[in-house]
Amino acid sequence: MTLTAETSRPSATAAAGRARRVRLLPRVAPYLQAAPLTVTLLLFLLVPILTIVAVSFWDYDSVRIYPDFVLTNYTELLTSPVTWKTYLNTLKYAALTWAITLGIGFTVAYFLAFHVRSTTWQMVLFLVCTIPFWTSNIIRMISWIPFLGRNGLLNSGLISAGIIDQPLEFLLFSDFSVVLAFVHLYALFMVVPIFNSMMRIDRALIEAARDGGASAAQTLWNVILPLTKPGIAIGSIFVVTLVMGDFITVRLMSGGQSASIGLMIANEISLLQYPAAAANAVVLLAVVLIMVVAMLRVVDIRKEL
């Protein structure tokens, strides 16, 4: 009796240990599964951002930076009229680009989703939309320059057609050319999510609307538009964040005559003013985050997906 009790005790503890191990694994497993992403995000997102925030409080002179805690970078940034002008300018580009890409994106997606009946043709035409993306961003941008220039294709074409006598100067190195390049570069980022949302709309809803006596415009406004909101929101986030952070498009297409925040940061980096650039980056990050949050407040992506 006692003997069996004694022998059974260790086996009981062993069984308990095994059970604990068995119970432990399911509890740890999710953490292990999440670990790679967590580590990646920590290393490549959180650490760099924290570094930037830290550096934004450092001091600097023309060659070196000094670990410190000063607010001059922020005060110089926020009290300078240039900063405000540059932000306004960048927001202007973002707003214009957003409005135009939204118009184009919605129209193209609507055409693809509702006018093209066969799935094969939908896919073919969709792929056609992506063709420009097979070449580099910079090439697509730069190719506008000889086209729009004073002696470019467009101007010489218009002149030889007798439509104008003087080349149109505003075509290149102007706000017009900057926005044009942005629209060209980022329209697809609007088309894809909107197209995706539209394809998920149950066709029965549209039939129901028609049966209920709704006109085409009413269907568009009251059925299709609300249901494509998540796509519009995602596309808008893409376009707005891309435009807000851009520097090379603005530099090349404005001929270096306009400023954007990205360009301002790039200038500061090139002049070794890392702390000033960091402060600028932190402010830009905050502004863009506020814009994204605002967009998400208007459209709850997760609910409507």
Binding site: V63, T86, I145, F173, G255, M264, S270, L271, L272, Q273
Partner: protein
């Protein structure tokens, strides 16, 4: 002493070269070439293991030439790795990653920023064989004893430090040189003579309303501000104490004039890179702009007329040099000195002169150039034969004359050197305002 040597020699040459002296000259050149070959053999004890040395050089694209690295391997036996960056990146890297390079090929104004950071070591002039023959601009600041010292960061003001471990620039030449000059030139405005429609003679023509929407300025603040200052001074709008070291008030006034011109639509674009300036000019978007001499050559090579116009107010000059990183010692340091001595021994000098730049030691470079080349590039005479680039491409047809003329005419009329100012930070902020305006 050395001040007079170079000018007087080429002066006699330009006044008339008889066939006899020319022949004598070539013989001497050939002799010297053989002699220098014997010197560059360097049969020293470490001649064997120097082959294992690799020197890492970085700098701006102008003088980081692969041809030089190949020739170093051939002549000296060791490997020279080259990295070309733009001048902002060069400054950054020189200061923030001093261990990442052995030799820095930087401009003098960059040197003014970099050297005080203590990342480089000065060179012992006793170990520089051709030190005596270096063009005096880099030693005393004067091309000839009579010439005036130009404004800005003149190379001689940052060319020497007070001692081996000092980072303080010396007022007069010492035995410790910060940078050995390699390449320099005098910059001016580039124009499209077929489109400007009138002779251009002054910096102020950049802001002539006749060229509204057809002018451009380079957008590198430390250089652009100089061109802007040359313009404002020529207009008589601003008087400068030193264009290379402006007061806040002078900066404000200069950029006010530029901003007004920008708002009035004077500028078509601002350029930052070499190729941008070439494209602006060759496409006809811009017909007058600040430009660099190889960019003018690049426009011309497309068959488009372009002139590097000499202006009555003088040139804006720039110069670069080789410096040694602080961490270099022992065999590698010896190799670095070896390399620098070789650099001044003529082959590179001739190579650079043939590109339209100037080299530091003219006597040795001359030995590696044909008399026709020398007469065209250095003496401003009409080319007797087609002038070839170092790669063998025809740059100028026979009969052409170099824009701006001879070495004396160009380097003797420098009004200002590229500079970094005491009010640098303020200037950059104001410059950014001008660009954003």
């Amino acid at each position: 002493m050395t001040d007079t040597r170079t000018p007087s020699k080429s002066a006699t040459l330009s006044t008339g070269v008889s066939r006899r002296t020319l022949l004598k000259g070539t013989a001497a050149v050939a002799g010297a070439a053989v002699g220098s070959g014997a010197i560059t053999g360097f049969p020293t004890i470490w001649a064997q293991n120097i082959k294992n040395v690799t020197l890492r050089q970085f700098g701006t694209g102008v003088s980081n030439l692969n041809a030089v690295a190949d020739k170093v391997k051939e002549d000296l036996g060791f490997t020279l790795q080259m990295t070309a960056l733009d001048s902002d990146a060069v400054t950054q890297r020189a200061v923030t990653q001093p261990k990442s390079y052995d030799i820095a090929d930087i401009e003098y104004w960059i040197g003014k920023k970099v050297f005080p950071a203590g990342v480089m070591q000065p060179m012992d002039v006793k170990k520089i064989k051709n030190f005596d023959k270096i063009v005096p601009i880099f030693i005393t600041g004067k091309l000839t004893p009579e010439s005036a010292i130009a404004q800005g960061t003149a190379p001689h003001t940052v060319g020497f430090v007070e001692g081996k471990d000092s980072t303080k620039f010396a007022k007069a030449p010492t035995e410790w040189m910060t940078l050995i000059p390699t390449i320099y030139n005098a910059d001016t405005l580039g124009i499209r003579p077929d489109l400007v429609g009138r002779p251009i003679s002054s910096w102020k023509d950049l802001l002539d309303p006749a060229f509204k929407g057809k002018a451009s300025l380079l957008n590198i603040p430390s250089i652009g501000i100089m061109d802007a200052a040359m313009v404002c001074e020529a207009m008589g709008e601003v008087k400068y104490g030193d264009k290379g070291n402006m007061t806040k008030e002078e900066i404000d006034k200069t950029l006010k004039i530029m901003t007004d011109a920008k708002k009035a639509g004077q500028f078509r674009a601002f350029w930052k890179t070499f190729d941008e300036s070439v494209n602006l000019m060759s496409s006809g978007e811009v017909i007058i702009q600040s430009m660099w001499s190889p960019a003018v050559a690049a426009v011309r090579s497309k068959g488009i007329q372009c002139v590097y116009q000499p202006l009555k107010e003088g040139y804006r000059a720039w110069g670069g040099g080789l410096g040694i990183a602080k961490h270099l010692s022992g065999l590698e340091l010896d190799a670095a000195y070896e390399y620098i001595n070789w650099y001044l021994s003529g082959w590179v000098g001739a190579y650079l002169n043939r590109q339209g730049y100037y080299s530091a030691v003219l006597d040795t470079a001359k030995q590696h150039m044909s008399p026709e080349e020398w007469a065209f590039w250095m003496e401003g005479q009409p080319a007797k034969a087609d002038i070839l680039s170092p790669e063998g491409k025809v740059m100028e047809k026979a009969g052409a004359v170099r824009d701006g003329g001879s070495f004396q005419d160009r380097m003797g009329r420098v009004a200002c050197w590229n500079a970094v100012m005491d009010e640098d930070r303020y200037m950059v902020r104001k410059w950014n305002e001008f660009i954003a305006a």
